[in-house]
């Protein structure tokens, strides 16, 4: 269609810990990489959408431009929990879809602290409720998510752990992942128990990182002769949480994910069988399990068997998190959503190297953040 939107350039830096660098510098590196990938200059970019969580008040997008060229363009700084990066990408998409711009850029960047994430809760309370009124740590919140699946379908600790084995295996093929290390099932299951069933190796890695993507209108892609390496944005959807009965006692990530996934399938006029690979939000191993069903990759109740069949492993029916995922590639919150796009684009271009999903024509990205914000995008080989 005449108003289709394409990704024409993308990059991510190798995720790691860079305490001596700044978010400006980290963001600028992937932004320059994306410009180089597309063969464009900063003067070609008409708007920048920059996602970051921990310096949300810090005009990070403007600071990135101070590093790579202050052209005076529209800059929008975006924060939307773990969906921040995908939200920036969606805004860059909408900037073109609306007809306002021909070429936009999304940059996601984060410097993370280390250790247990998630507040202890109890703002305004005289004593912390943590450990008295249950737990509000992120591993505990997502442990509840997983054990609800166990309650319904009998999913086992070993099955949840196997997801971590798989994603760590995938990361050995991704030089930009934080870790490239196999973690056998026994090692995953016997690593420090954080919040049952999530052991330390089943929790995402806090890393610093950045990723960038440049989007362009169909007219402009053709005018510049960039179609040969362009990837079409087939669908974009963003949701918040609808009310669920346990809204107050137990954070829910299922309903919002289902809303976004179903909207993306409908907007793209495609179905789950059309998807060849997925980068989904494995912030904890338990989360990946429930999202197989939430993203309609398998029927409700079949996620455990779907995993066991090898369907989501590289070489399977629909490989999930071949990048290594948040569990091993790492999870720099503001960058993650854009990094997912980078990964899918590599596969659709046939440039993913050792982890290439053969014949990939369509890929899905998914992130879901506390609060709740969920984004799903479907990308398609031209």
């Amino acid at each position: 269609m005449a108003n289709d939107v394409y990704v024409v350039g993308t990059d991510m830096i190798k995720f790691g810990r860079f305490p001596n660098r700044t978010v400006d510098d980290l963001g600028a590196e992937s932004a320059l990489g994306a410009l180089s990938d597309a063969g464009l200059k900063i003067q070609d970019i008409q708007a920048l959408y920059c996602s970051n969580v921990f310096q949300a008040m810090g005009a990070v997008g403007q600071r990135v431009l101070k590093q790579i060229g202050q052209t005076g363009i529209e800059v929008m700084n975006v924060t939307n929990a773990c969906a921040s990066g995908a939200t920036a990408f969606r805004l860059a998409y909408l900037g073109i879809k609306s007809g306002e711009y021909e070429c936009t850029m999304a940059v996601g960047v984060e410097q993370m602290g280390s250790g247990l994430q998630g507040g202890a809760g109890g703002a305004g309370m005289a004593i912390s409720p943590e450990g008295i009124l249950g737990s509000n740590s992120n591993p505990a919140v997502f442990a509840h998510t997983g054990l609800e699946h166990t309650r319904k379908y009998g999913t086992t600790f070993a099955q949840f752990a196997q997801i971590s084995v798989k994603n760590h295996h995938h990361s050995t093929l991704n030089p930009k992942a934080m870790y490239q290390k196999e973690t056998p099932l026994e090692e995953v299951m016997s690593s420090e128990m954080i919040s049952y069933p999530n052991t330390k190796l089943m929790c995402s890695v806090n890393v610093d990182g950045s990723a960038a993507a440049i989007l362009m209108s169909e007219k402009e892609v053709k005018k510049r002769g960039l179609m040969s390496r362009a990837v079409k944005v087939r669908a974009s959807a963003l949701s918040s949480e609808p009310y669920v009965t346990r809204d107050i006692s137990m954070q829910d990530f299922n309903a919002a994910t289902r809303l976004a996934a179903d909207a993306a399938y409908e907007r793209g006029s495609v179905g789950p069988d059309d998807i060849n690979l997925v980068e989904l939000h494995d912030c904890f191993a338990t989360a990946e399990m429930v999202h197989y069903e939430n993203l309609r990759l398998c029927k409700d109740g079949e996620a455990g068997a779907f995993l066991d069949s090898g369907a989501t492993t590289l070489g399977g029916k629909v490989p999930v998190n071949v990048s290594g995922g948040l569990l091993s590639k790492g999870h720099p919150i503001g960058a993650t959503g854009v990094a997912n796009v980078y990964e899918i684009v590599q596969h659709l271009r046939g440039e993913a190297g050792a982890r290439q999903v053969e014949g990939a024509r369509m890929g899905m990205t998914h992130v879901v953040g506390m609060g709740t914000a969920c984004a799903v995008h479907i990308l398609e080989k031209v």
Partner: protein, 145 residues
């Protein structure tokens, strides 16, 4: 520094300590959609709007059930600094409506010892922590019924 209160204070505002009689948990119920919420919910410009159905000023205060069933749990082994582990973080669906999170006590903190749908009762005990003025707090806990 203020004097510590003689009697324990409620750990959350919806834990009620009557002058006579047993403590209980309080909630609100929407007369339009019958959903039960823990506590007094959110006020918008002084008005109660139902989080589920959007009905305005249809809430009635209700005494929540003191029994329920264990819907979900996790055994927490690593928490924030100063928090004693392991403990069981439990999600309990109260009889009569409302779902609430708290610690499940008097059960071994191992998955083998915990069964979904175990009937539980709400009990009230002094919380292990005091605030900086030395006040004690009464908390609710769940224990197998």
């Amino acid at each position: 520094m203020a004097e510590a209160a003689v009697a324990p204070l409620p750990i959350v505002p919806y834990l009620k300590i009557p002058e006579s009689g047993a403590p209980y948990l309080e909630g609100i119920k929407c007369k339009a959609c019958s959903e039960v919420f823990i506590g007094q919910g959110r006020l918008t410009a002084g008005k109660h709007v139902c989080q589920k159905c959007g009905a305005i000023e249809q809430m009635e205060t209700v005494k929540l059930g003191n029994t329920g069933k264990l819907y979900n749990y996790t055994v927490v082994h690593r928490s924030f600094p100063g928090v004693k582990t392991p403990f069981i973080s439990a999600i309990v669906d109260l009889d009569g409506g409302g779902s609430i999170r708290g610690n499940l006590i008097n059960v071994e903190p191992t998955p083998e010892a915990i069964k979904f749908d175990t009937p539980v009762k709400v009990v009230y005990e002094i919380a292990p922590a005091k605030d900086k003025e030395g006040n004690s707090y009464l908390s609710y806990y769940f224990t197998p019924a």
